[in-house]
Subunit: 115 residues, 2 copies
DNA sequence: ATCATGCTTAGCCATGTGACTAACTATACA
DNA sequence: TGTATAGTTAGTCACATGGCTAAGCATGAT
């Protein structure tokens, strides 16, 4: 359970932007060149390029240039660390579905210490 | 498949910070007051408070004040939207585990168009 | 009533982020 | 060769983020 996990931070940060998630959804249907990804966003090319750079640094997409066209594709394995983290958390969190009771009981105990 | 999903953005953004993930991990073991959460971070209280505010706005934690102590607890259901998104993506992405082939074939087809 | 504790608010600062325009490069097409 | 196309780079700008200090407020202990 790494305290500083740059992978996870990059991943979550990349996914925190709706534009980037939209690009991913588009790419889920198949590889596409930059312009085609930019079109539905209504954003300028340089802006989209930065989003793509973020996605690529997070390992979520891979790109390659063929002639003057850069083709982008998703990297499915990239979601694995996130899934792992989520499963870890779920394991602990769900083991505590008594959380609310636990929480309330804590408060009550504190109050009880003060008759 | 909402194009603009503020919930997801808030969630992912909240989780993109290692300090906040550490706080969540700590809280997974049970509710705790602000100071106790701040201690292991090495950060000042106001800074930690802001992190807690981000977590709370994302719906990841709930807090309540008892006397002068504010107790914080996780909200397990908060991860559901993220799990849903992840499962959706996995469904599509994994259906395309031929992605690399697909990608390469695309390139080859483009080249083929140019004999 | 006084003081310590625990949080809160206000405000500052450096850096990061997301958007843009404008100018440039490199490939394809005529 | 010249021109359109597809990306790329550089530079600007407003605002968000993450950290801090200093001062304030409410509650519990003496």
């Amino acid at each position: 359970m790494a305290k500083h996990d740059p992978d996870l931070s990059l991943l979550f940060h990349a996914l925190a932007d709706p534009t980037r998630r939209a690009i991913l959804s588009r790419l889920a249907k198949g590889a596409a060149p930059v312009s085609e990804l930019a079109a539905p966003t209504g954003l300028r090319l340089p802006t989209v390029m930065r989003h793509l750079a973020v996605l690529e640094e997070a390992g979520l997409i891979a790109t390659a240039k063929d002639g003057r066209v850069r083709s982008c594709a998703i990297v499915p394995e990239a979601l694995t660390p996130m899934r792992t983290w989520l499963d870890e958390q779920r394991a602990i969190w769900e083991a505590r579905l008594d959380r609310l009771d636990d929480y309330v009981m804590n408060l009550m105990k504190e109050r009880a210490n003060d008759p």
